[in-house]
Symmetry: C2
Subunit: 242 residues, 2 copies
């Protein structure tokens, strides 16, 4: 390991190197990294230092470590990604599993709100995906998903043949090499508009939960803005603070 001008612990340098290699696709989602010994040899540090870097990567959900097997690049699978970022649950605890329907996709110029949320340049284009998410077969959430066209070239091809999966982040990862590692959410209460009432089967004037989410990739890029409007009469937004 070369030392950088200002001091940075060795294990953090190893962490950075591995993040870059994962981001560059050196090992694809679900693939295994070299063993601790092999990495230590390649990077010319001790196994203990590599271990500390790998432990940090595992804590940040970038890799999976399995005793006796090896270390794997974390994958956004159906169950995993859904439970990680989809926070709607039954009151009292039980998790709720959503399905999706009624997708519509269009490409358009970015509006000021899009540019602000996604840090876009003037004149940028975006894809806008709208869909309804069902829980127990009943409409529960309206989602508007905005993606920078520059990052999602040719996204139209996923509209046909119902190829849009329920968990989009697996698709971002697999098709575009964009690993979503965190999301900033802002929640507020809002009053249902006519369109909300029609699509969610709400009474006029009902209250609903509006969530703005900006999803951040491994490299720190704002990859997605998702506005969700949720009927919270049957399900709640559940989160644990610690």
């Amino acid at each position: 390991m070369d030392e950088s001008p200002r001091y940075r612990p060795l294990y953090q340098q190893v962490y950075d190197v591995l993040v870059k290699q994962i981001a560059a696709g050196e090992w694809g989602p679900g693939e295994s990294l070299p063993s601790e010994q092999a990495l230590a040899g390649r990077l010319n540090v001790s196994q203990g230092t590599v271990r500390k870097a790998l432990d940090a990567l595992a804590a940040d959900n970038l890799i999976d470590r399995r005793q006796g097997k090896g270390t794997y690049v974390a994958e956004h699978t159906q169950e995993r990604a859904l439970f990680r970022f989809f926070r709607m649950a039954r009151p009292g605890g039980g998790r709720a599993l959503p399905t999706s329907t009624g997708e519509t996709l269009k490409r358009r110029a970015a509006r000021p709100a899009d540019a602000a949320k996604l840090a876009l340049e003037p004149g940028a284009e975006v894809y806008e995906l709208n869909r309804v998410r069902l829980i127990d077969g009943e409409p529960a959430v309206l989602e508007k998903i905005v993606l920078p066209a520059a990052l999602f070239a040719g996204f139209e091809r996923f509209e046909r043949h119902d190829t849009l999966p329920n968990a989009l982040y697996a698709l971002y990862q697999r098709e575009y090499g964009l690993n979503i590692v965190s999301a900033q959410e802002e929640l507020r209460a809002d009053t249902a508009r006519k369109d909300d009432c029609r699509r969610l089967k709400l009474a006029p004037g009902a209250s609903l939960l509006h969530i703005d989410r900006v999803a951040i990739s491994l490299e720190g890029t704002r990859v997605e803005w998702r506005a969700s409007r949720c009927d919270t009469s049957r399900f709640v937004y559940a989160v644990t603070l610690s």
Copy 2:
């Protein structure tokens, strides 16, 4: 260290021992623990094992470690506790600082809803504290706080002389030895009732954000149920998922 019947790593056993000692008040909030060397000697394990346990305690926010100084029992200070559990913020990022006013306190029998949230026995009593929280001097949140009377003996004495601090968790810790380490929150949208409108200065029929929080102590006890009704026209509930 004695080994337990079923296998548990040494450093986790050390973790458990230290949690118990902190919970028992062996070292009070803000006080320093013995040095790593001293703990290693006392528990008859290596310094590295103690270090791993202390790192885990620090990750769980139970202790603070300061290089060159020592290891301290984490304290619920004003700024810290407020930012940790109070999630209201200005849209786009800036944090919001609340103040409190209009406290009223009463002692009463627990109702079914209280018993369910706090896992109380039939016939238990609770304290109910109501207050308004202001942001920038304007009412923004109505809070109803329910505490098991069994855990908070003589809580009435804090009602007089405006002795109720803005950050209650510091008081729970200092006066009752109850360390709040996590909180489970459930959010939903609701329509403002007459009383909400009056106290929050809302228009009739406005939507507001209802938050049910159950706070959990170091020992795993449900210590507090807090129902907050928030005006989200100026501020939002902000959370980062990762």
